[in-house]
């Protein structure tokens, strides 16, 4: 493998406490050397990238994406999804198991990571917690872990039965895997297609109450409490309500290992963005009230939120061009997460750049125990994003790398333009040749 030098850039590596101009040498897929500008020792024969005026950071990590393979390649493939990820500055994604068939097996877990998938970046499968994600029978977590699974989840199909969820937590803890719960009491959300409130009433749509999320988070926290095992790790996916966030906050104060992620659409948009039945504003959990959105922002700023994750959920155009209540849930997110986070969290809401980047790399890496990722300390994987932090640009969904176009952020102003994304020492995205 050839060596790569990135020269003249400003390195921000929150996990290593670095925030300075640095040159960096990548070799054999790892970070080989970091030095002050012009001081790298062994650069002979290395390809050189000039990052003058640009920022270098650990490659971004999205722990919640839907790559749609196997089985739904018309929406996205592992190749197109990871190309979109690389364009968005991501070097690792954790792929949810709601594929066709559901990823509840060693075979599918391996298949997803096979070189034949032509992934641009690293894909970490999240295996189904239960057989077929039906919420009944526990899968073989030890086997799934050795095949490469980094967590278990029945994303989209929450585990309702207390007894099953308890068993999942016990088994995952024994295997050393995190449990990611899509917190939704589906008994309260039957037939609903947006947040329950005055807006859903006015639009004549059945609504999902905030309690459908918070009650499930509270139930899960109670189960974790009862386990009395400090290794048990519950991770709350796409937290969308003030009440659920408050429950996580309380659990953390009690010393439990309960973490949560937030999606950009939940810190930016509210139920008002549904407008007149815009199916690009339909996802689950739904866009919530302004009070919930404000609580989510506050949670990011005060540090209770552990990670930004996109819940990248591509759908074909024709699937979204239908009656609102019949449209599938979800929007794409990989190509807009960094631009939206830098524009809103950093520029508008003054969250320091290092903390924004940490929410997109170091913290999600720590959450799922992705060793050697989320930092650029010497010896780490050579996963790097190089971007122009000052560049403002307009996102156009039609120019995206994802196979799908279902985004509410088409035409939005983004801050920070990715120049290169480097995955394990290899250039996965180059803005000039993209």
């Amino acid at each position: 493998m050839t060596a790569l030098v990135i020269r003249g850039g400003h390195l921000i590596d929150p996990a290593a406490g670095v925030d300075a101009l640095k040159d960096i040498l990548l070799k054999d897929g790892r970070v080989a050397e970091i030095a002050s500008p012009g001081k790298l020792k062994s650069v002979e024969g290395a390809e050189v990238l000039d990052a003058t005026g640009l920022t270098l950071a650990p490659g971004l990590i999205d722990i919640h994406v839907h790559l749609r393979e196997p089985g739904q390649g018309y929406k996205e493939t592992i190749a197109t999804g990871t190309a979109a990820a690389a364009a968005g500055g991501f070097t690792s994604v954790a792929a949810m198991p709601n594929t066709t068939p559901v990823n509840d097996s060693v075979e599918i877990t391996r298949w997803m990571q096979s070189p034949e998938r032509n992934a641009s970046i690293r894909v970490f499968p999240i295996a189904a917690a239960t057989r077929g994600s039906k919420g009944e029978t526990i899968n073989d977590y030890a086997a799934l872990k050795s095949a490469g699974a980094v967590a278990v989840s029945d994303d989209g199909r929450p585990i309702l039965k207390d007894s099953v969820m308890r068993e999942v937590l016990v088994a995952a803890t024994r295997a050393g895997l995190s449990v990611i719960q899509h917190a939704e009491d589906t008994r309260l959300t039957q037939g609903a297609s947006m947040n329950l409130g005055p807006v859903s009433f006015k639009l004549g749509l059945r609504g999902m109450p905030a309690e459908a999320e918070s009650s499930m988070v509270e139930r899960d926290i109670r189960l974790v409490t009862e386990l009395r095992d400090p290794r048990a790790h519950l991770h709350v996916a796409h937290t969308s309500t003030a009440a659920a966030l408050a429950a996580v906050r309380q659990a953390r104060r009690s010393g439990l290992r309960v973490t949560c992620e937030v999606a950009p659409h939940h810190f930016l948009l509210t139920e008002e963005h549904v407008g007149l039945y815009d199916t690009h504003a339909k996802m689950c959990p739904p866009l919530r009230s302004a009070a919930d959105r404000d609580a989510i922002i506050e949670g990011i700023l005060d540090g209770i939120v552990d990670a930004i994750a996109t819940d990248h959920a591509p759908h074909a155009t024709h699937e979204k061009e239908v009656e609102f209540e019949h449209a599938p849930n979800g929007i794409t997110g990989l190509e807009t997460a960094l631009g939206l986070s830098l524009y809103w969290l950093h520029k508008e809401w003054k969250l320091p750049l290092g903390r924004v980047l940490s929410l997109l790399s170091a913290q999600p890496a720590a959450l799922l125990g992705l060793k050697g990722r989320g930092t650029l300390a010497v010896g780490s994987f050579a996963d790097v994003v190089v971007f122009d932090p000052k560049a403002e640009w307009t996102y156009r969904a039609t120019e995206g790398k994802s196979k799908s176009r279902n985004t509410p952020f088409d035409g939005w102003t983004m801050q920070g333009k990715v120049r290169w994304t480097i995955s394990e020492g290899r250039i996965a995205y180059n803005a000039e040749t993209a």
């Binding site: 039957q190 639009l203 003030a242 309380q250 039945y277 922002i297 239908v322 009656e323």
Partner: protein, 340 residues
């Protein structure tokens, strides 16, 4: 709010929702909110003019223009009324219903709409069981779309014909309306508000003319948040107290097809909310009684009230044809004639 939530709230700028691009076509009538009060007045005026017009003259107004009726739900009043209205202006109409069409084979609303357009339809009148369907159809076809009822959302021509009926009784002779026209008038809407598109269109239209809208019904059918749908909307759960305040009483059917598992004790419902001759005589002896139909006699209203002297139910049906003539005419002439 949970006591452990942060107490400090920062004032942050957040991205606003973008302005609505609807309606794309000036001839469309998707929501009562698409109409200015001037636009409402024009429709009321044209309804009267067209109603009085010599049928042979009227027949030439939209001679041979093509109007499609696309119905995904069964309907007697609305469908027949729109069809008679369009035909009496000379238009050719064609009916496509979800049964006996390619919709049964799984054709999408978008494709059905584009097909109708390719067949030469110049406007589509849509009745659909999904809220928002009319917006989807308009966005995809860019034709004038008349919303003849979308799910639990809106039924704008019903609100217009209800307004015409209310005006006839409470403001006889008035056809040009403004923000004061119904000042001092209370209109109560009773029953299954949650599932009612008629209620939503009326509660969004009538307060703009100065009326107070009183919503009445049990919690299961009338959530508190209904009062936040717009200005001038108040909830009064006590049926008799509401009757005492109202000059117009609009009764609604319980929409069994939309209850989605909700269990209702019908005897209890009747005891609390049925409009009986006795209640009407005692609490609202001079009020006008409306009902969008279909009526379930003996449930929300007694047969005596439905057929009684205060009932304007058949007048409403009659007004429907006149209002829909005006709305269909507007749909097909909005661009050419420039009428709002």
């Amino acid at each position: 709010m949970n006591p452990t939530a942060p107490s400090v709230r920062r004032q942050l700028k957040t991205p606003p929702a973008s302005a609505s691009p609807f309606p794309y076509n000036p001839g469309s009538l998707l929501s009562v909110l698409d109409l200015s009060l001037e636009g409402v007045s024009k429709i009321l005026n044209r309804a009267t003019v067209l109603e009085k017009e010599d049928p042979l003259v009227r027949d030439r107004i939209l001679a041979k223009r093509r109007v499609a009726l696309l119905f995904y739900e069964s309907s007697t009043r609305t469908r027949t009324s729109f069809e008679l209205a369009a035909k009496s202006l000379g238009a050719d109409t064609t009916l496509v219903s979800s049964l006996s069409s390619s919709i049964e084979k799984g054709e999408s609303l978008k494709d059905t709409g584009l097909t109708l357009r390719a067949l030469g339809a110049e406007a589509i009148i849509l009745r659909h069981n999904s809220s928002g369907a009319a917006w989807l159809l308009e966005a995809e076809t860019r034709l004038p779309v008349l919303n003849a009822g979308d799910g639990m959302h809106e039924h704008p021509t019903q609100a217009l014909l209800d307004l015409r009926t209310i005006l006839t009784h409470l403001r006889p002779g008035v056809e040009t309306v403004d923000a004061e026209t119904l000042a001092g008038v209370t209109v109560m809407i009773v029953g299954d508000i949650l599932h009612s598109r008629v209620a939503r269109s009326n509660m969004l239209l009538l307060p703009r003319l100065g009326a107070r809208v009183l919503l009445c019904g049990p919690k299961e059918l009338l959530p508190e948040m209904a009062a936040q749908a717009g200005p001038g909307i108040v909830i009064e759960r006590d049926f008799e107290a509401a009757l005492r305040q109202s000059q117009a009483v609009m009764m609604l059917r319980i929409q069994a097809e939309r209850l989605a598992g909700l269990q209702l004790d019908l005897d209890e419902y009747k005891a609390s909310y049925q409009l009986t001759g006795q209640r009407l005589a005692t609490f609202a002896p001079s009020s006008v009684v409306l009902h969008p139909g279909p009526i379930i006699r003996g449930l929300e209203v007694t047969a005596g009230v439905a057929d009684g002297s205060q009932s304007a139910i058949l007048e409403q049906v009659h007004n429907g044809v006149a209002i829909r003539m005006a709305v269909v005419e507007r749909a097909l002439t909005a661009q050419i004639g420039g009428r709002a």
